[in-house]
């Protein structure tokens, strides 16, 4: 094949830039190795890249404060290119290089692929931001979740909807990802358990852009829903809400953390009043606000997504688990991790104890108002209200 030489060179350079990000420090006994096998290119890049930035900030801070157990942290980063097979390969490489804990991709399939390798090596691992509550059990006792679970967010959204007096709900889901499918289903389950009524379920395909058919259908519903819930995110959420509002439907819309992005706040009038859940709100004096300041200081630009903060949180959780274990032994870290309680991280407090490796953490509700984020409140729902995974 005759690809021009300079194209080859560019591709090679980019590949190198993508894969060899590991902090090349000579290993010695005074270092503790943490691995991150993430999708830094490919479709997970929008999530794993920000997570990595948060992880790196945490590593900087931890090392500046003396490291973990008195040892400096060496972060080894492998790009899986969002490829499931490569996720397993990268995890194996990390195991071979002697990491004591591992962060894996933001999505379920690659996270499982890496996770089973870590599980076999008895090295604890956690997905940076996969939110499917069944993920840890799909791998085994060495696999942890980090991010706010879908059923947790859904329960918070449902109880908020009932508080507002909404009776009839419409949910819009996409079966293309567990997140876009399950979260609205958990919402419907919780909403109905709290006495609400589900009017209809709409379906879309991720990336479909055109919601005219669905919107026309919503217009014809009887009874009309008084709340619409969806886990759609970019580019689907903006397209959906624009076409919904254009059709003259002003039913309140509840979204989830996927829409916590500058795009949503740039949508103008159509997004006004949209309420969405996420992992935390940077209210004045909160640890999240302090985090945002540190982030901007390190990267020279303001943080524009909560995924950096949850990446930071995860690194802090790993540090807490190792400190609590008092050793770098895998099983000891795992047990300590499983018993962590009220670890202070950027977004608030995280507890793993008695949660079957899916942490309880605060869920914040936010409203889009005048292109700004307004804090509705922080919620820690009663575990009995959370739909079973």
């Amino acid at each position: 094949m005759r690809i021009p030489g300079y194209l080859k060179a560019t591709a090679a350079a980019l590949l190198l830039a993508g894969t060899s990000m590991s902090t090349a420090v000579q290993a010695d006994d005074h270092e503790i190795k943490i691995g991150y096998a993430g999708g830094f290119t490919g479709y997970l890049a929008p999530y794993d890249q920000p997570s990595l930035k948060g992880v790196q900030l945490a590593v900087d801070q931890l090392n500046a404060a003396g490291g973990i157990l008195g040892m400096q942290i060496e972060l080894i980063v492998k790009d899986t290119r969002t490829d499931t097979a490569q996720s397993a390969v990268a995890a194996q490489e990390l195991v071979d290089e002697g990491v004591v804990a591992m962060i894996v991709s933001c999505d379920v399939d690659p996270a499982v692929a890496s996770g089973v390798i870590a599980q076999a090596a008895e090295i604890p691992a956690a997905s940076s931001c996969a939110s499917t509550p069944t993920l840890p059990d799909a791998v085994g006792p060495y696999m942890f979740s980090n991010y706010t679970a879908d059923n947790l967010q859904a329960a918070v959204l449902a109880s908020y909807a009932r508080e507002q007096g909404y009776e009839n709900a419409y949910i819009l889901l996409s079966r293309d990802t567990p997140y876009t499918e399950k979260l609205p289903e958990y919402f419907a389950e919780a909403f109905q358990a709290m006495g609400g009524n589900l009017v209809a379920v709409g379906e879309y395909a991720t990336g479909q852009q055109d919601f005219s058919a669905e919107v026309t259908k919503i217009k014809g519903l009887d009874p009309q829903p008084d709340v619409i819930q969806t886990a759609a995110y970019e580019p689907d959420f903006p397209a959906f809400i624009k076409q919904l509002r254009a059709a003259g439907i002003d039913t309140p819309v509840l979204g989830s953390d996927g829409i916590d992005s500058p795009t949503t706040f740039g949508l103008g009038d159509v997004a006004e009043g949209v309420v969405f859940s996420n992992a935390g709100f940077a209210s004045p004096g909160s640890p999240l606000e302090a985090y945002e300041v540190a982030y901007e200081a390190k990267y020279g630009e303001p943080n524009d997504t909560v995924f950096t903060a949850t990446g930071y949180d995860l690194m802090m959780v790993i540090a807490a688990a190792i400190e609590a274990a008092g050793s770098t032994d895998g099983p000891a870290i795992r047990d300590a991790w499983d018993n962590l309680e009220n670890v202070e991280v950027a977004t608030g407090l995280i507890t793993y104890k008695d949660q079957n490796r899916v942490p309880v953490r605060v869920v914040a509700l936010n409203m889009v108002s005048g292109g700004e984020r307004v804090h509705v409140g922080d919620y820690s729902p009663d575990p009995s209200m959370i739909p079973a995974p």
């Binding site: 980019l14 055109d210 005219s212 058919a213 059709a247 740039g266």
Partner: protein
Amino acid sequence: MEIFVQQFINALALGGTYALLALGLAMVFSVLGLINFAHGELMTITGYAMFFAIAAGIPFPIAVILGIAAATLAAILMERIAFRPVRDANTATMLLTSFAVSTILHMLFQNLISARPKAIPVPDWMIGAINLGGLSIGVIQVMSITATTLLLLALTVFLRRSILGIAMRAASLDFPVTRLMGINANAVIATAFGISGLLAGVAGVLWLAQRGSVDPLMGFLPVLKAFIAVVLGGLGSLPGAVLGGFVLAFIEVSLRAFLPDDWLPFRESITLTLVIILLLVRPEGLLGRKDAVR
């Protein structure tokens, strides 16, 4: 009845965007025999050009023009830099080159701009709708239908009246003999890429106005749809590509609008099955070679 008319308009608007994309893809295919899988990245380039223009304080309408110009220029450069050196190689080489271009652009966007979506705020007037006796037609839908109509008319005039246009139709049938007419191969190919870039730019603006953001991978899905439309319409046929775009949109919108709820999860597979059935009935596509541009 009303709901049928509404869904018909919905399909027409979506079909317009598909048709523009498919036509661009078909244009390049007809002169080079290449399905340019980097075609979707031209839309992404429109998006980033608009993003940076708006960030620099340039008014929205001018940002739109810059976005379309950027896609056009990028298409011409793509041909000059990536495809011309492999023009005489076999089809597989060219196809792989187009994949390589697409991948390299993804990486450049992800690493030089951002892996996260960048917001493109659209003026509020574009988000409204026009109400016509119970029908609600979004402003973007009106723009889509208008832009498609105007572009198709302009392109038809170009293809029928100008020497270069006639040459492009001739080249779609027989490139070597077109060159025997004294037609410059580079001019024909560069024009085909330029037009495909222009069409992708316009489709990109319509697409971006709906989605409100640009991200590195946004071009993948539309180019896939356009590819289906091109095959459905008949590889190498320009009117076929347009027809394929509309047919695909009509199938998609009808299924989404009128399938019973229980069947909704299967709508994508039903769409593809219908496309395959159409291709079994007419293996050369709806307007195969013989009926190519008149």
